[in-house]
Symmetry: C2
Subunit: 316 residues, 2 copies
Amino acid sequence: MPFTNLELVEQVDAFPHPVYHSAEHAKQLSTLVRLTTAAGDTIGYLLPSVVAALKDTALSGTWWDIGDSITLRGNTIEERNENILKTVTSWRENKTFKVLGGWRNELYAVYAPAGQLYLTMERAATCLFGVVTYGVHMTVYTTNPIRIWVPRRNINKATYGGMLDNSVAGGIAAGMGAFETLVKEGAEEASLPEDLVRERAKCTGAATYFYVRDKRAGGEDGLLQPEVEYTYDMEVPEDVVLKPCDDEVQEFRLWDVEKVKHELAAGNFKPNCIMILLDFFIRHNIITPENEPDFLQISARIHRALEFPLASHALA
Amino acid sequence: MPFTNLELVEQVDAFPHPVYHSAEHAKQLSTLVRLTTAAGDTIGYLLPSVVAALKDTALSGTWWDIGDSITLRGNTIEERNENILKTVTSWRENKTFKVLGGWRNELYAVYAPAGQLYLTMERAATCLFGVVTYGVHMTVYTTNPIRIWVPRRNINKATYGGMLDNSVAGGIAAGMGAFETLVKEGAEEASLPEDLVRERAKCTGAATYFYVRDKRAGGEDGLLQPEVEYTYDMEVPEDVVLKPCDDEVQEFRLWDVEKVKHELAAGNFKPNCIMILLDFFIRHNIITPENEPDFLQISARIHRALEFPLASHALA
């Protein structure tokens, strides 16, 4: 049985929603511990398994205050960066969490209120702390009729190997802007000339949702990953051809809307691509109030209000 | 001082948000009584002043069950329609609520879960029961550069007289579809040929928010109005000129983006137009992560998850 669009959305926005599933939301929250700033702002959620690991000071050092909530010690960004690096390096060496086997050597930013940088941490560790991560996703397409460039991920990739992906996508590393990340990823993943992306890529909003990871993501089941993906559209002429450049992508195909819908409904896309493609279909009059009974819930869940302070990439 | 974009959004999505203002949300809810279906689904919120009026059976009849929540009696849609009509007609005759002075002779639909029609009620009464209302908003524009058709409402209109409005907008009456409503309003308000709208208007999503009415809306202050506005874009050539047809609109102007932003920031647009124009600016790469520090909160609040069963216009 193919999935409905709302069922697909629920696979991505999988952490119980405070409005649509308020009882489950409260129940789930009661099993978690909040990660807070020194000022008391909640910046992430910890599973019991991570709390237990933090309490093992032989591995996690003395860099944490652990009570009803958990706070990383350190009065400056630099001190906090050092303390979290020591923690996750120790865990990595001791193989405390499988997910750290996917160590990226890439720092992600975590923010306090008003878009203030609070700390940076290794990308692979973010889902252990349930902090918000940021990325960019672009749909590259031709018109009359609309056809979309769809890559298949390298079968050997540790995360979602062999699954379908969005035309261009990537995470925003600490210190990078959204658009600059897009230009870089367009060249690296799809061989798109920088000038073409700068001229034609248009920001169309942001997809926000609260993902719960499964085995396909690599690492432990159930790790928490609230996520922001800035979305871009890029209409291109027929003679622009997307090609793999690095080893992320195996091949690109130019598919019509029916084919993309079919592959979505079959569960063949990397989960977070679902949100970006459904948003594209909504913005382009393909999914409409007349043909989609769950139009309004889908629209709201693609733009979920996250309960953490968010980045202001405007100020970066 | 001009308003920031987030301040503008807060004027429209004014009912406390369960994620961004959770304490205020809980406090506000504690002052309200839920309107529920016979099955117990919450379909609206009542202010204490409306609860008091319902308890006066000389005016409201015996058509209500009043306890911790309030339910309209009636086993069928027809019985419920009759009971609510008797109630609001009695209030209208006795001038119980000022807002019923704006009686429209237009029925709006209220839904139970799964998009099932539960009852229809006079449009002017919806904000007394805090039920979700539905409408369409279209931005008609030319390109290179983008300029937007902006009407000024007739100064004599009871609601928001003299304020700026979206190119085409209107409420969805019971039994009408979203697109059909748009075609009708385009002709009535902006003299747009039906064929042109059918060919060029494209649905781009829905703005959802929880408005709290003030005097400019007509009637009592503080009435609750959760709202869905299906949004449409219509790009037109320079020779398409919007003109008033009925008496809603005084004049149309074709303004560039800077002028529209200036008038928005000055507070000169009818409040709910704020959401549609900011959404247009986000989708068209005018408001971006790089130039708007509140990008993510604005995006989420334009697409608020409403805590009531919503229409499925797909099934209408």
